[in-house]
């Protein structure tokens, strides 16, 4: 399973390196979202500083949709889905590999967004460990749930329009938990954020487990 996951993740990341969709489209989109929020809410930074955690994760959520749609699209082209079914790859390995590739792209986006939030919104990081742990757990949850719902929407052949409707409500616990944890890590009391980080870990484990078990059925039946 882990060998297959590594193979699929390597393939997806190689496709990303060649196509540069994350670099040339998702990243600029994420930065644009931050800038637009900045223009719309408060140029004097007062409100922006307080809302920065939520704005950060809303931007990441939008990027998750783009990354998942892209991950699904590469498997929908020219019979690739059938080729995957024929390949003999472990479906759990395919799921973990695709989720890993999505997570790697999201982490790259988050690094750039974090720099943008600090520079543009003028926030101060007081809990680095909480910040990193929450980001990792939230990213794992976003990637796992996104990959799972991505293959489901792909099977229904209306991915672009259906995926946001399916996925955004499911990801709302991540948005809430990650925002609360980040607020605690950005100028708040770090200890207040750890229970929220725990919630993110539980969400990630839940969807990683469910995806590992259910991905094969979804690949076959949808």
């Amino acid at each position: 399973m882990f060998r297959d996951a590594g193979l699929v993740a390597g393939k997806d990341l190689r496709i990303e390196l060649r196509s540069r969709v994350t670099l040339q489209q998702v990243l600029p989109f994420a930065v644009l979202v931050l800038v637009i929020f900045g223009l719309a809410l408060d140029p004097d930074r007062g409100f922006l500083g307080r809302a920065s955690a939520g704005l950060f994760w809303v931007a990441v959520l939008f990027c998750t949709l783009l990354a998942v749609q892209r991950a699904v699209a590469v498997e929908s082209a020219d019979g690739n889905r059938d080729a995957l079914r024929l390949s003999g790859l472990d479906p759990a390995g395919i799921f973990l590999g695709k989720a890993t590739a999505v997570a790697a792209q999201l982490l790259a986006v988050e690094v750039v967004l974090a720099v943008g939030v600090v520079v543009m919104y003028g926030v101060e990081v007081t809990g680095v460990v909480l910040l990193l742990a929450s980001a990792l757990a939230a990213t794992a949850g976003l990637a796992a749930a996104g990959t799972l719902y991505g293959v489901l929407a792909a099977g229904l052949r209306v991915t672009d329009t259906l995926l946001p409707i399916l996925l955004l409500p499911v990801l709302s616990p991540v948005l809430i938990g990650a925002t609360e944890a980040f607020e605690a890590a950005l100028g708040g009391v770090a200890s207040d954020g750890w229970p929220w980080c725990g919630l993110l870990v539980v969400f990630a484990l839940l969807y990683l487990t469910f995806g590992t078990l259910a991905f094969g059925t979804l690949l076959e039946e949808t």
Partner: protein, 227 residues
């Protein structure tokens, strides 16, 4: 020896609709069988059923000893077959070499198998580093064929294998098929290029309206003395 393919009254579903009207097909191990019929006759569906990609909902079916009625066995079968369909299964952003390497490694092929497939399909030169998106239809077909060769399948399922290829490419396909059969593989192909396909096949099975007719030996097989 157990037949490589044995279908009795086989019916499958395409979406929610029944496809095939009860197919009967026997293919001995090491044999090359041509499915011949008009467009929409069900040839592609038969090949996909034999690959374990479609469910067997009625009748009986065994391929390489796997019972198609058992989903777990049908999934296990897939690693042992190679299907060359209308779609190429290539990732546009990856190079020819990357694609063959990925699909080869996915089914456990060694780097030597992958390299041999690239060389055998004439993709070892400049083409190896060309992204699949930049390939012509014929070159994509060759790359797809190399992915199949790298798998070293026991059962080759070829849907219009000569389509989109130039003369050299068609000769290459024929040569690879003959090599595979000489190495013990079984081939089931569907083709409208009847002259070429009949020269390769031991028997022809007509397919029409989702059902098979009586098989007949090809003239090439008769000349070669194949029973």
């Amino acid at each position: 020896m157990e037949p490589a393919v044995q279908l009795r009254g086989a019916v499958t579903l395409l979406g929610r609709f029944p496809a095939l009207a009860g197919i009967d097909l026997d293919v001995a191990a090491g044999e090359t069988v041509l499915l011949r019929g008009p467009n929409g006759a069900g040839k592609t569906t038969v090949l996909r059923l034999c690959a374990g990609l479609l469910p067997l909902v009625r009748g009986e079916g065994r391929v390489l000893g796997h019972d198609l009625a058992d989903p777990a066995q049908a999934r296990a079968l897939r690693r042992r077959v190679g299907l060359l369909g209308h779609a190429t299964g290539l990732y546009d952003e990856l190079t020819v070499g990357d694609n063959v390497r990925f699909w080869g490694r996915a089914c456990g092929a060694s780097p030597a198998d992958v390299e041999a497939a690239l060389v055998g399909c004439g993709l070892d030169g400049r083409l190896r580093d060309v992204p699949a998106a930049a390939l012509s239809a014929g070159q994509r077909r060759r790359t797809s064929l190399a992915c199949l060769v790298a798998r070293r399948p026991e059962l080759w399922l070829l849907d219009e294998p000569h389509a989109g290829l130039d003369q050299e490419g068609r000769d290459l396909v024929d040569g690879l098929m003959r090599q595979a059969v000489a190495a013990g593989a079984t081939v089931v192909l569907a083709s409208h290029d009847l002259d070429r396909a009949e020269a390769l096949a031991d028997r022809v099975v007509p397919v029409a309206g989702g059902a098979t007719g009586p098989a007949a030996p090809t003239s090439a097989a008769v000349v070669a003395g194949v029973p």
